[in-house]
């Protein structure tokens, strides 16, 4: 079992390295076909986002190719092997993989901690014993179930797009060893949770790199391990995180029918109605004050951050904030929301203002505006 996985893993790295060329054809097909559902920036639409850190059907080269060629049953993703020759589909696969950044193709294994007592964590140690479990993760970060009692080994491919100096940023209880392309870049061993460790800095050329994370900490309700990859003076990528525990990401986008969304958004009052109009304008209407407090164009709602755990994290509105959008729609002292409904592209909101009924409707206007009617 172990052997099989390992071979697969090596093979996929190899296949990757040689495959980066000729993505032009892939780009062409993507912009003709895939773009309809997955968006011009690959960030999704009708279909899932292809550059976030969640891959329901796998993000290895084989997995991506399989999804394109065989389709996904029960969705609008058809089997494109019926439409294009294999070579073209390989190009699309390459094009998609070329757009990836950070951690991808994650394999998580766990091992009994007994074997590692008194030994320094090292990949060779792991190769010589059998793992308790191995799992390809749909998320591109490492997580373990609560009360995890073992040693974690995470293996993945790092996709780097721009050259430069990188480093790891680590915190947590226990010991951690991180390897890039077969070299140890970080080792720490804390008996108590300490401040963040910064690893040594190292150069990474564009392309894919082999990343391995080894970690052990005492069993607790949930693991405290936290790791990210930082580009010096640049972006960072989370390498650990919380799983959706079997759920899938959720994004709410505009459609022909207007939508009213109730979500917890940072900085917005809890009784806000988010009005998402067909022209992708989103307005934050605070039903407790009768005011539009914020607005965005090219907007959609990303609910995924709120979907793990106890929903301690908010959903996010994505889009370009519209300036000077704040507006008092209803004037008064006491506001009571009565109801809302959408008919076609229009949202109608009924309220009581100081005991008197007031209705208004909002519909899209132009590319980035809205029309208000009483």
């Amino acid at each position: 079992m172990k052997f099989k996985y390992f071979t697969l893993f090596i093979f996929s790295i190899f296949a990757y390295q040689v495959a980066f060329s000729g993505t032009e054809r892939g780009r062409e097909i993507y912009s003709q076909i895939c773009v309809t559902c997955h968006g011009p920036n690959l960030d999704g639409g009708i279909g899932p986002n292809l550059i976030d850190s969640y891959w329901k059907n796998g993000d290895s080269q084989d997995a991506v190719y399989r999804s394109i060629a065989k389709g996904i049953t029960g969705t609008e993703m058809i089997a494109y092997e019926l439409v294009y020759p294999e070579k073209d589909l390989r190009s699309v696969t390459e094009f998609i993989l070329d757009k990836q950044e950070g951690n991808r193709d994650t394999l998580r294994s766990s091992y009994s901690r007994d074997y590692f007592q008194g030994k320094r964590l090292h990949p060779d140690l792991f190769d010589s014993i059998e793992s308790i479990s191995q799992k390809k993760l749909p998320e591109n970060f490492y997580y373990v179930e609560r009360m995890f009692d073992g040693v974690l080994r995470g293996q993945s491919i790092l996709h780097i797009k721009s050259p430069g100096k990188y480093r790891f940023n680590i915190s947590g209880k226990g010991r951690t060893s991180i390897w890039v392309n077969g070299k140890e870049m970080h080792y720490s061993n804390d008996s108590k949770p300490k401040d963040t460790h910064i690893s040594k800095e190292f150069e990474l050329p564009p392309g894919t790199h082999d990343l391995e994370i080894l970690h052990e900490e005492p069993t607790s309700h949930s693991m405290r391990f936290y790791a990210r990859l930082q580009k010096l003076n640049g972006e960072h990528w989370m390498l650990t995180g919380k799983s959706l525990e079997g759920s899938v990401p959720k994004v709410v986008r505009s459609s022909e029918k207007a939508k009213v969304i109730r979500k917890w958004i940072s900085g917005l009052p809890p009784r806000t109605l988010l009005l998402l109009l067909p022209n992708q304008v989103m307005l934050a209407y605070d039903s407790s004050t009768g005011k539009i407090v914020k607005g965005w164009e090219s907007a959609f709602l990303n609910q995924t951050p709120s979907l793990d755990s106890r929903s301690q994290k908010q959903s996010e509105v994505k889009g370009k904030e519209l300036p000077d959008i704040a507006k008092t729609i209803l004037k008064g002292e006491h506001f009571n929301l009565l109801h809302y409904e959408t008919i076609g592209d229009t949202v109608t909101i009924a309220s009581l203002v100081d005991g008197k009924p007031k209705n208004f409707s909002i519909s899209p206007e132009g590319k980035n505006s809205y029309k208000l009617t009483f």
């Binding site: 079997g246 709410v252 929903s311 301690q312």
Partner: protein, 729 residues
Amino acid sequence: MKKISIFFFLFSFSILDGQIPAGYKIQTVPLPRGSVSVLGLCHKPDGTLAICTWEGEVWERKGEIWTKFAENLMEPNGIHYDEKEEAYYVGQKPELTRLIDFDKDGVCDRYECITDAFGISSEYHEYHFGPVVDSLGRKYASLNLGARGEFTVPDGKPFGKGGGNMSYNAPWRGWVYRSDRKGHFQPLASGFRSPCGIGMSPDDELFITDNQGDWVADCALYHVREGNFYGHPASLPARPDFTKDKVLSLTAQDFEKIRTPPAVWLVREEIANSPGSPIWDTTSGKFGPFSGQIFVGDQRQSNYFRCGVEKVNGEYQGWCVDFLRGLESGPVKMSFDSQGRLWSAQVGRGWFSKGGKRTAIQYVEWDKKTTPFAIHSANLTKTGFAVQFTERIGKKMTPKVSSWGYHYYSTYGSPPVDQQELKVSNYQLSKDRKTVTFDVPLSENKIYAITFSEQKNTEAKLLDFDTIYYTLNQVRPPSEPRPGRNVGWTLAGSSWNRNDKNRPLPPVVSPLPREKCTLPAPKNATVLDSSQWTNPNWKFDKKGTMARSKGNNSTKKAYGDARIHLEFRFDPSDNPDWKGQLYGNSGIFLMSGYEMQVVNSFQNPTFADGTCGSIYGQHPPRVNASRKPGEWQSYDILMKAPVFSSQGKVDEPLRVTAFHNGILIHNDVWVYGEVGGPYKKHDKRPLMIQDHKGTGVSFRNLWIIEDFPYDSALPEFRNIFPNGLASSI
């Protein structure tokens, strides 16, 4: 290596291995696609299953097909289908919402805010659980405290400081409320921490389960009675007789005096860690031999357990026993379908669930023939317990009995205190071999664990779950108090009897200054002067004052919907014989049948629903804003006449909103029936003032505006007195 594998094998085996009573079986239902964590479910009369999800959707399942009914809600934590209105109700985090599908195409058309009168601060833990309904169709839901915030009550005296982490960040957090209809919000009871479970018994009595934590020693099932306080002091600032400063100045011993203990402690780890909603077995035997019992699921334990309560000295207390283990995730809300199958919405997200799955929908069904061998129930006797079994027991085995108590303090949970093994004596088995009685030393405020570990039935089968836990708050008194006199209606959802002496008295607050409460008659009002009354014994003096006199006094004219103002004064008396209900008793009989009590309640306690301003026998005033005898007091009443169907059924009960001395005492309450009996169809009827034994009462400045439009006038009426709300509503 082998050792490791075996260890893991056993570990996973113990998770998966359910303990399922004989004759029962668990079935799993496939979930809709997408991101779904099921928080609530209910059944429509046509058999449709509906679920609400943490992600904010409502799905319907007809046959095997799921369709999306509503979306983009905020964490709806419970769903109810209202048959009469043909609409769903969901407890969204910021509001109670009705979902209406006008064109019956299976997709919600209108999202209607029923109430958002409670506060929310954006603290993630401010969950909103429910709703459930009483037989009048009124909705009840519970409001979680925040997990973080500024107002916590960490005072752990006398056990030392610590804990007290749950926070009151916005009005009515830690409360249970009722909503009669759109725009209506009536806080019912306080003192809850994380009241995830809410259920209404077939007898219209509300029960809540709460999670152990600060101020909550263990998981608990509470019988909720209107006006009571159940233990978490961070919820108290919403009460009109408390402020934050006052709460912080008090100790655990002070709170202990006003707290009502749980009816059943749900023993941690053994029974529950995060109990969900209670549901009553109303299947008349379709779900096995446990008719009438309460079933609850636990989010952590992934089990169903059973509870039962009995009244001892007028208060419920009772038992819990495990029933079934091995569900896929953590049940939080449940529903019986028409075939008597027990469904549950299960979730393990955020809180670890033994079942291991993030979410699931499962149902449990009984084969309708096999009787499982189980402890059926337990009752307290005067000297010990009677324990019933579902089947005849084999060889007699004396149970092991232990007892313990809990601390009441701000620390997270309480360890067992004063744990003892008790001596069991006088063991007796009933003739049918199904009931065991025994004596054991009884003491109050203790949990009794009664264990029949070796007990077999006549076929030598052991029990699946051998321990029943009885919460003994009170021992049996020499004689049970008589419940209040039934006059043809019950106080649905409030769990009190008429004239219940145990009902908490309304908090005393200061009235508004008298000059602010003397309202002159507006132009459209009828001044109820001497020309308007029928009883010649009641005479007006030169100042326009009318003294109570012999016989009731009715207006000549009949009234329906109305706005009423009147003033009254009690003759001061220092005769100690004239106290309670005899110090200045009269009553304002709305439509001649519904009494708003007039009695001196200034430092003159009486039963709660007989206090000045009460809808007599039904609703105590929210607060007691009485002035001294000798001073003029005022009532301002807005009332809507009951609406009857042509057959004489009550379509809508009488509604009352009222101020006493400028302070809101009734916020759009429903009246359950006439003061002396159930509703009887009637048209407009005169306003009547009651003659009653007692010290003297006088009236003045009485006026009425007839046919006053109640609904449209209500919002403005609520605000007629600046600062007259006595607390935020």
